[in-house]
Symmetry: C2
Subunit: 225 residues, 2 copies
DNA sequence: AAAGATATACTTGTATACAAGCATACAATC
DNA sequence: GATTGTATGCTTGTATACAAGTATATCTTT
């Protein structure tokens, strides 16, 4: 469990939420780990109440399971859950990138262009750890362009199911492909080419489907069924 | 604010959540209404903690807005929010009904058939208030058939944005159309006719788009912008 | 030794107390 | 009269106390 310091004006609940999300995503909180409200509260230097509130929110996203009077646990990787998260991601990404193709303007192009340039830069420097955030930011920008930013927000926590599996795969090998996908998506959006854009989204998301089976055998204790 | 009694084994948080959802949906809690944690707690006969936890959850779904040290309010109807909820509903319903066309079996047909028969029965008896729940149940069943029940669950609270606008419209006039839609959807699913099924979903959801503008002028105080 | 009762140390759920900030009413001052 | 300071009562945010249930270890009993 890696604990960063609290931001100046960040309230205790958001702080607890941020730390827990990060650690679940990075697998520093491994699937199945026990989470004690009291313990976490003292570790974070806050009281039980905001910690508990954060846990409840993660429970609603099925990232933590709470059994009354017994304990709370980081959810095991549930293939059905991952599949449904991927499903949501696929159909919304698809619909949103079509809208982006229609509604794109120069400002939007500039935002995406800057992002992809940075990805290409960090890739060429081998700083692939920077790419994960840029990846997410790229997709968020597309939602912004399509004026579906609330949809993105609503689904963001849920996508941790998806992203934590990403983090389990030997992903760095394929970073250059991911960056290439983004470059191609950008060009398709600029050209208003919906068909290609949609194809790219599906190809992009399919990259992660294969890895899941790889790691299943390596870390069976992380999986539910 | 209409307050029903607590279920036997229902915990205080779920109780508060249920009551608040119902009242927001039915507009007994009108958009803009102040919600005091203390007041609601005493009304429900529970303490502030579970009430607060319920309010936080509804805040995450943008159904309540909380301003620290100032108060919490039932969110005004935000056309962008409604539009994004409708967007989610449309694209997921579309994708899910396609899957249902592929994965339907006799058991699934039986469930849908029973539901539609009941809708037709209540419609013929003029008991249109029963139809709302059956409508939701019908759609949930389709998600179950497509094995996307978590997707339904995740989105269910969000759909209150959509449903409360439904409740504001002079909807009873069109109940027979809604029931007809469901009958047609069922037949399309049985026939495995994806194209027709998708068309029906879009037609179905478009029925509510018109009403919004009608009521906007009648109840401008409910709207955000 | 095996089985069962029991104490104990946890857990989450709920209630309550306190802290900090905002808004309003009202009084004092210019 | 207008403005400013202030007291008051509200709000949510956080901390803590208590309730109730579970699991485990240990002791007692057979």
């Amino acid at each position: 469990m890696k604990i960063e310091t609290k931001f100046p004006r960040e309230n205790a609940r958001d702080y607890a939420l941020r730390i827990m999300k990060n650690n679940i995503l990075s697998l520093d909180l491994k699937p199945g780990t026990v989470i004690s409200e009291n313990e976490l509260a003292t570790e974070l230097g806050i009281s039980r109440t905001p910690v508990r509130e954060a846990i409840i929110e993660l429970s609603k996203a099925y990232l933590i399971e709470t059994y009354p009077q017994r304990g709370s646990f980081v959810s095991l990787i549930d293939p059905k859950m991952v599949e449904e998260a991927r499903f949501i991601r696929r159909i919304t990404d698809t619909a949103v990138i079509e809208l982006a193709c229609e509604q794109i303007d120069e400002k939007g192009i500039a935002v995406l262009e800057e992002n992809v340039v940075l990805q290409e830069f960090y890739l060429s420097k081998g700083m692939t750890d920077k790419i994960f955030d840029l990846d997410n930011q790229f997709h968020k920008s597309i939602y912004d362009i399509a004026e579906k930013d609330i949809v993105y927000e609503i689904h963001s926590t849920l996508m941790l199911h998806f992203d934590r599996v990403r983090n389990l795969s030997v992903s760095t090998v394929k970073d250059f492909k991911v960056v290439g996908d983004h470059r191609n998506m950008l060009e398709a959006i600029k050209a208003g080419d919906k068909k290609t854009a949609v194809e790219l989204v599906n190809k992009h998301l399919n990259r992660y489907q294969i890895d899941e089976k790889e790691i299943r055998s390596k870390r069976p204790e992380y999986f539910k069924a």
